[in-house]
Amino acid sequence: MSDPTTTSMVTTPQAEQPTAPGMTSPPDAGSSAAARKEKPRGLLYNAWDDLRRKPMFWFSATLIVLFLVMAAFPTLFTNASPTEGVLSRSLGKPSAEAWFGYDVQGRDIYARVIYGARASIVVAVLSTLGTTIIGGMAGVIAGFRGGWFDSILSRIADIFFGLPFVLGAIVILFTFNPPGSANGVWKIIALVVFSLVVLSWPVSMRIMRSSVLATKQADYIMAARSMGAGPLRIVFKHLIPNCLAPLMVYSTILIGSFIGAEATLAYLGVGLKTPVVSWGIIISESQHYIRVAPWWFLFPSAFLVAAVLAFVMLGEAVREALDPKMR
């Protein structure tokens, strides 16, 4: 496989991706460093080269790292407790000791927003992982096997895709997590993740399926098959590494949308609930006080939007870097 920069005449982007297994597929990550050095520069290397020069990438990556640190070590940012309510400071305005003010229970909103990052990001990342793995696997199987298997899987995907997203999530969550039920924190998180995954895997499947269909006929797959590679080897060593890019871009953006979705469900009262602190819960609690305490609503919303924006922008930047047409 030649260097993609010299074979830019090839029109299908999938076909010109070199296999570069050392950079893309985990099973081959153990190959010797010397072998990797001799490999031609792969698509991912080029993409990274491109990405490095984009301010949008650095901006969004910095924001994401900041949010991740916030989720992992909230105590780095604040000493205040997110759940300790002192009624005498109820609805206190933003001040030097409480930058974002206090809510109606007298809890420090700054601390709550910082601690809220964890639940929001955990839900979004877990849901995205689930969607990507289930949808991606279904897509690979449907695209690679084809025939009646593909038809059945695609129809099943259509069934889940036909459900309106918010409505479906409310029904699922309300059935398994009705208001007033005494589910533990992790169980509620698992249920929210489950409902998001169930309703969004068809999109991931379609993306993966179409890129598998486009790649399946590529010369290097034929070559691998003619050399006697089994279907498993072809799928894991050749097909998946070369089909992953569009799904990865979508998944990055999906993390952002899921942060928003979690907040929407919490706002509707069926998502995470109040001993947990998440951005959605804080916004949901603030909705009836928006006229007297706009800061209560404003700051968690700003964090939410910034987080969603960061992931959407990262996805955009990666998409542009991976798309050879944009070069």
């Binding site: 069934i159 459900l163 997203f165 409310i170 928003g260 939410l304």
Partner: protein, 308 residues
């Protein structure tokens, strides 16, 4: 063409049955007492339970319940709520409002999104282009309820330009802001789709030919470029109309619109299973039919597409 429509309609049937059964199962068959909290603080009287079990066939297996429901549905009867209100009536009251809201959202997103997309697609990398790119990113990142609350607070409460909630009966003018809120995310996608599509087609041969023929620029863009670039946008708008109705729950809750989203949300909270299923059935049907209509619209926009 006729055969194609027929085949597509036949393909819709299993998807329709699957989706509706899934919802029916979730609403009716998941363990839990369907009468919990139905009669206030005390247990429901046995007579009531017997009556309702009879009315909703709760003692029969789930698929018998589903088939009975579907049989009635095919005759145009959505059934009744626990309280005996006809669900047909509930839907007839609420649905026109949701349609109005969704159409308003679609109009707003189509007009603003297309204008922004076409203008920036024609002149890339200018000030306007960057402005639209950044503002669409923001719109995508803003959840509907945040946009809704902020606009309601600023326009409705603080500056008092609009009424904070939509009055009943609904006027079109009062739906402008809720429509904008509902359509804001899609608007960003429309703008981006149109921009990419226009920018791609602008350098194509037929546009160059049209310019070389000496056609006025308005005709080149309006007839040649726009018609070819609109296909992905129309697909998006068509499927979005179905999605907007299902996604209107939040918008309707914020602005107090008595639409289908609010009705279904209230029904979920009060465990009115029959209402929930009926509304989801309608939403799924509309969504599937919109997808079909969009596919057929292709042929009008792009004569190269032929259905055998």
């Amino acid at each position: 063409m006729g055969r194609y429509v027929l085949r597509r309609l036949l393909q819709l049937i299993p998807v329709f049955i699957g989706t509706t059964f899934l919802i029916y199962y979730l609403v009716w068959a998941v363990p839990g007492d369907p009468f919990a909290g139905k009669c206030g603080e005390r247990r429901c009287p046995d007579a009531y339970i017997a009556l309702m079990t009879e009315k909703f066939n709760l003692d029969k297996p789930i698929w018998v319940q589903y088939l009975t429901y579907m049989k009635n549905l095919l005759q145009g009867d959505f059934g009744q709520t626990y309280g005996g209100i006809s669900i047909n009536q509930l839907i007839a009251d609420a649905y026109p409002n949701t349609i109005k809201l969704a159409v308003m959202a679609l109009l707003i997103e189509a007009v603003i999104g297309l204008t922004a997309g076409v203008l920036t697609g024609l002149r890339r990398n200018g000030f306007l282009d960057n402005l639209v790119l950044i503002s669409t990113l923001f719109l995508i990142a803003l959840p509907t309820f945040v946009t809704g609350f902020v606009l309601q607070y600023l326009l409705g409460v603080k500056w008092q330009i609009i009424t904070p909630t939509v009055p009943n009966p609904i006027t079109w003018a009062s739906l402008i802001v809720p429509g904008f809120v509902l359509g804001s995310v899609s608007m960003a996608y429309v703008a981006r789709l149109a921009r990419t599509s226009i920018a791609e087609n602008r350098s194509s041969d037929y546009v160059r030919t049209a310019i070389a023929k000496g056609l006025p620029m308005r005709r080149v863009v309006g007839i040649h470029l726009l018609r070819n670039s609109l296909i992905p946008v129309v697909t998006y708008l068509g499927t979005d109309l179905g999605a907007l109705m299902g996604g209107a729950i939040v918008t309707e809750a914020i602005f107090g619109i008595n639409g289908i989203g609010r009705t279904v949300y209230r029904a979920i909270l009060t465990k009115e299973g029959a209402t929930v299923v009926s509304i989801v059935v309608i939403l799924v049907l509309v969504y599937l039919l919109m997808n079909l209509v969009v596919d057929l619209l292709y042929a009008l926009l792009d004569p190269r597409i032929r259905y055998e």
